[in-house]
Every structure is written in C-alpha cells, then in structure tokens.
Amino acid sequence: MSIIAVYNIKGGVGKTATSVNLAYLSSRHGHKTLLCDMDPQGSASFYFRIRAAKKFNSKKLLKGGKHIEENIKGTDFPSLDMLPADFSYRNIDIALDDFKKSNQRLSKVLQPLQSEYEQIFLDCPPNITLLSENIFFAADYILVPVIPTTLSLLSLKQLFDFLEKIGHSRDKVLIFFSMAEKRKKMHIEMMQAMQNKTGVLQAVIPYSADVERMGVYRQPVNAAMPGSVAATAYEKLWDEISVYLAS
C-alpha cells in the first residue's frame, strides 16, 4: 500500500500524463489502483472521461469516508478507479484551514482507502500551498517530473527548501526527466549532470506527440498505443518505481 504524489511546482511538465499512465500501468500489473485528481482543472478526470457528481466538492473530499467512497468511479480499465476533481478544489486551502492539524487532513481521509487500494496516485496541482503540504504529508513517495532546464532545477530547489521548512525528509522525493528532447543540447547536458544524484531515476520520458494526443483519444498512452516510444518509456519508469514501492 503506497501513496504516490506526482508533483511539481511548475505547470506543464507532464504531471497529469505521468499520473494517468503510471496509474494505468499499476493496475495492469495487477494492483488495485486509485487515481485521485487533486487539480481543479480536472485534466486527469478528462482523460478518463469521468465527471464528478454535481454534489461533489472540496468540502466533501475533506469530510472523507462515504463522501469520498460514493464519488469514486470506475475507469474503463479493470482494477483502476478514480476520484475525479471538482472545480471547487481551487479554494481547497480555505476549506482545509477549518480543520485542526490542517496539514494532515488529506492523509487522514485517504487512510481508509488504503485497505481497498494497493496504490493511490495523487495528480497534484502546480503550486506550493497548504494542499501541497497535505500531499507531502500523505505521500509515501513524491514523484517529480522535471524538464531538463535551468528553471526546472530552480523549482526543484524550491521544493527541497519547502520540504525542509515543513520538516520532511527529501528521501521520499523521486525525480525523473520528462519531455526531454535529444536534439536540445541543454537537455542532454542537464541530464548528464544530474543522472547520478540520489533520488534521480534513470528512466526518461521523451517529448512526444503521442502524449500530447492523449487529450484527443482520452486514454492512457499505454492503452491506446502500447508499443509507442512514449508507452515504452512509461513502462520503464513504472518498473523503476515499482522497485521502490515493493521495498
């Protein structure tokens, strides 16, 4: 039983594609998996063609229990369920503030789901907020897609500083390169400089039109185009992560 948060302070780095494809691969490997879309934009929900019920909102999420269970929906794939996001999540920090131990609320409401699901993936919104703190508290691993550029490294440093500030170890951070382009010299150099650092995974997800097209066919790339370069890269990433999950 593990909770894996897919997180980056920056947007547009491939978080949702990563959550969707890894959650799908996890279920394909026989693990009962739940994907929680934490991003009010609801992109992961969109990819799975799932809409939250009208009555569902961030307050229900934070109440937990049956309010969550009633709103979990089955995807089109066996062993893979999803808790869709609601637009009200954009104000979730305000709702969180009402709770005692407001930085641990998410962990608390996810707790009972761990008896049903072997893996829970959290697709996180790009920011550093009280919700992020909740996510870091709840997660066993924080999986960070990084585009190999200078600015990305800066955001990584911000993440580490923040973790330190709130008293979390950086051991649970796993970094991998996303949207990497072989023809860009900076990408290559950046990856070479980083690849042997602790917590940096070897699998690299290349920039791929197949991933971008996920929005058209609305399926995980590993389901729609299992043999593609992108799908193979996600397989490798899953294999690497599952070693951590098993330990």
């Binding site: 026989g30 799975f48 063609r49 799932i50 809409r51 089109d76 066996p78 369920d81």
Partner: protein, 517 residues
C-alpha cells in the same frame, strides 16, 4: 422484481443479440469489441484445492486466467506452462499467479477438469462522454464432449454508475432476459462429461452416521467410502501425476485396516482375518514408493540444512533416490495392476454389497453404543503408553505411541458424526498436536536410519563418494539435533493432551455413553 446479485442470465431462444442491442442503443452509446473465441481447459488439483477457495483457473494454450468463481472478477492473467501431465505451481514463471497457486496447490499438480469453447463478444455501453458505464457480455459456452450450447448474457456494472446499471437491468427484464444462469455452467457440465463434479473428492474422511445404524451397517458404509477413495486414487497413482494420490491411497488402505482391527465382532472373524491380510499386502506394495516420495519431497529442506559446499554432493544423492523411486514406482504399478490386487479389491467390493450368512456377535449392536467403547479403549491405551513417555524413551517406543495415536484418531474420525461437532473438533485438535510432534520425531528417526543405510552402501576410495558421505554425515547430524530438541517437548505435548479437562471430555463423550434413545 430485481435481483441485484444476479448478473448472468440465459438468453431466451427467441431473442436475437442484434434486437437487444438496438434497444440498448436507444439509451446508450454502444461499442462492440471484437468477438473472442477460445477453447479453454479448466484446471484444478484432483481434490479441488482452487475451487474450494473460490477460484477458477483455466488455460488456453499457455495463457492462464485465474478468477473468482462467484464474481467472475479476474484475479490474474498470465503466461505459464502448457497444461501437460503433472503441471505444478513451480512450473509457472515467478509472478502473481505462481504466488497464489503455490500455497494452495502445495504438492498437488493441476489436472484438466473440463474443456469448454467460449465464444462471445463484449459490448461497452457509453454515456455522452463516451465513457463506459456498463458492460454486457454475450457468451456461448460449448462443451467438447456433449451437445448443449449455453447462450448467456452477463452484465458488469462499473463503480459510480449505478443509474446506468439500473437502466440496463430494466431493459433486460423488459426483453425477457430473466432466467438466472451460472457463468460456470460450461465448467460444471464439462466436468460431468469427464465423470467429475466440483468437490467430488477430498482427502478428508467425512461420514454421516446416525445413531440408529447397526454396527455392521455403519462399518459397511465406512468401508465402502474408503474403497471409493482407494479406487479414485489408483489411476492417479499409476499415472503418477503427483505424490498425493499414493499418499491418499495409502491412508485409505490404512484406515480400512485400522477399521478391521479396531472394530471387533462386527464382521465375521474369517472375513476380517482374510481382508486384514489382503489390505496388509496392498499396504506393503505401496510402501517403498511412498518412503522415497517422502525423501524427495524433503529435498529442499535437506539442502537448506547443509553448507553450500556440501550441497552438490547431496544433489547427486537425490538423483540416485529419484532413480530408485522410478524403479520402485514401476514395480508398484505392476503389483497394483496384478490379478491378485484386483481380486482383493473386487472381493472386498463384493463382500460389502452382500449379507453375512453367519452374522458376527456384535453386528446388530447400535453403532452409537459401540463407537464410544471403541474410542474409549483407544484413548485408555494412548494414556497408558503416553504416561511412560519422557525425553529418554527409545525411538521404537515413541513410534508405538504414534501408532496408538493414529488408531485413536481414525476411530474418532470414523464415528465423529455421532458426537457434537465442536467437542470432537477440540479433541482432534489436542490429539493432532501430540501426533504432529510424534510424527515429526518419527520422520527424523526414519530419515536418519535411511541415511545411515545409504552411508553404509557407499564404497570408499572415490572422491565423489567421499563428498557424498560428508553431505550425508552433515545431514544426519542436523536431523539428530532436531530430533533431540523434539524430545524435550514430549512431556508438554502429552501434558496438553492428558489435561484433566480433556480427559473428562473423553470420559463424558465415550465412556458412560447411554444407549441413545
């Protein structure tokens, strides 16, 4: 009326799939997946170890699917071996399927139980986002052996889309899809075609007796059931699918012999004497192969007892054992197929279906009365021998006590249905603890003797034999040490069994048992 748990129905003969689909298409988007067609072989151990746990396993060439029989939910789908003869859990590649199968099957192999051709296609029902909200599967199941074709429809809901499921159920009902079906009908009917039926065999002895039976009626029923077990296992012993066939065969033979010697004056003495001798012969025919089976099953444990440097020599030793076992099995098969063996079993069968010309003195006694006396006599014997047990008791005497315990166990099992279930379970549990320790002790003793004999048979002078001798020596030391440790536990194991409460229970159940009303 809705039956929420029923998700499989027979398709009415008059209803075409296309007609039903067009009705569904008025409410949902409809996406059809390509038709599938596969002839699958359902597999289980001879004693249904998977089915007993709610699992159904089938293979289509090397593609295996394990699922829950009730829900139809697939647990795991994985590549594996061809279902040839003797397909064991260890023949599967490491992975989820093997992890599930290994503890369930243990030493038993998978056997083909039924062959069924499944032809069908899945329809996904979609909402306006083209999200799947329910699945309908049309499936035909055809048996390899017989004619009937089962046409059925299965409905699978998807979490969070209850409303859609409700709508589909309503449409099905309106179109006459109302007769519930078992999704396993092809499997069950296919087994029938092969002369099998799920759960038709268990190595556990269970016999429903009633206090009104005469002793002869009861014993004949018991012997018949044991004879059935003997006959069920012989083909597997001859084919040598797995070692449990022989084990179960020997247990059934031993139970029969125990019955003949424990229950006196119920069958005429000449009959008892003659069949005791005959079943003794069957026991000795099957002994040598079983002994070697036991060693071969211990192979991994034996290897683990030795340092890696000595393990190759032990491998060679086991290769020798495997060859000896092959020869012993061949000899045993010849003996089991001999006229003599067949004559014993058919004479016994004939006897069990005929009447005695001169009934024995206790033949008409009520079994409820007799059983208590028999069990209590065995109990007293175990108590007497057990009290003499201590850490210094010679191996042979420990062995004798073990046999006494076995006889008591068989006697209790024969007649258990005449007594309260929970109290019998308690007694058997206590007895089993004692039996386990005595059994383990005896195994260690016998194994050391065998190793010693093998050691004596090794010629000096060759390096290979020298290494093998070292391995055997190391093994003997390890077994001996474990055996000594077990001695230290005799007293406590027997103390638990002879606990005053346990003794009182024996007394109450079996000693002063009144003639049942």
């Amino acid at each position: 009326m809705h039956q929420p748990d029923t998700d499989t129905w027979f398709m009415p003969d008059s209803l075409q799939v296309s007609a039903l689909l067009s009705v569904l298409a008025a409410e949902f988007g409809v996406a059809a997946t390509p038709e599938y067609s596969a002839t699958v072989v359902y597999a289980d151990s001879f004693d249904w170890r998977l089915f007993r746990q709610g699992y159904i396993l089938h293979c289509h060439n090397q593609a295996w699917t394990l699922y829950h029989g009730d829900s139809g939910e697939i647990t795991v789908q994985q590549g594996g071996p061809e279902l040839n003869r003797s397909c064991f859990a260890r023949d599967f590649p490491p992975g989820v399927l093997r992890e599930v199968l290994a503890p369930l099957l243990a030493v038993r192999c998978l056997l083909p139980m039924a062959t069924v051709t499944l032809i069908g296609h899945q329809i996904r029902l979609l909402n306006r986002d083209e999200k799947t909200v329910a699945r309908v599967v049309f499936e035909e199941q055809r048996l390899a052996t017989a004619q009937p074709v089962f046409r059925m429809l299965r409905l699978f809901g998807i979490r969070g889309y209850d409303q859609a499921l409700h709508t589909v159920r309503r449409i099905l009902e309106e179109n006459g899809v109302t007769q519930p079906a078992s999704p396993l009908i092809g499997f069950v009917e296919g087994c029938k075609g092969e002369g099998r039926q799920p759960l038709d065999y268990s190595s556990k002895f269970t016999m429903e007796l009633h206090a009104g039976y005469t002793a002869r009626q009861a014993m004949v029923r018991i012997y018949r059931q044991l004879l059935t077990a003997i006959n069920q296992n012989i083909p597997g012993v001859i084919e040598d699918f797995d070692s449990e066939f022989l084990h179960d065969l020997r247990v059934a033979i031993r139970r029969t012999r125990s019955g003949l010697s424990l229950v006196k004056n119920v069958l005429p003495t000449p009959v008892v004497e003659s069949f005791k001798k005959d079943f003794g012969i069957l026991g000795s025919i099957t002994g040598p192969t079983r002994d070697l089976d036991v060693y071969l099953l211990e192979q991994d444990d034996y290897l683990a007892r030795l340092p890696t440097t000595l393990q190759p020599a032990l491998h060679a030793f086991f290769e020798g054992l495997a060859l000896r076992r092959q020869a012993a099995h061949k000899k045993m098969v010849r003996a089991l197929q001999s006229k003599k063996s067949k004559a014993i079993l058919s004479a016994w069968k004939h006897y069990l279906t005929s009447d005695d010309q001169e009934p024995a003195s206790a033949a008409e006694v009520d079994i409820g009365h007799l059983s208590g006396r028999i069990i209590f006599r065995r109990f007293k014997r175990v108590m007497k021998d057990g009290k003499a047990l201590d850490a210094a008791t010679p191996d042979a005497e420990v062995h004798r006590l073990r046999i006494q315990c076995k006889k008591l166990r068989y006697a209790i099992e024969f007649f258990s249905s005449l007594y309260p279930v929970e109290e019998i379970a308690l007694l058997v549990r206590q007895l089993k603890k004692l039996q386990d320790i005595l059994g383990a002790f005896n195994d260690l003793s016998v194994q050391q003797e065998m190793l010693h004999r093998s050691l004596e048979g090794l010629r000096a002078g060759s390096h290979r034999n020298l290494e093998q001798a070292a391995a055997l020596g190391g093994l003997m030391q390890s077994l001996f040490q474990q055996q000594q440790e077990l001695r230290g536990h005799f007293a406590e194991a027997f103390a638990m069994f002879s606990d005053p409460q346990n003794e009182a229970l024996f007394n109450r159940l079996f000693r002063n048992r009144q003639e049942p009303s």
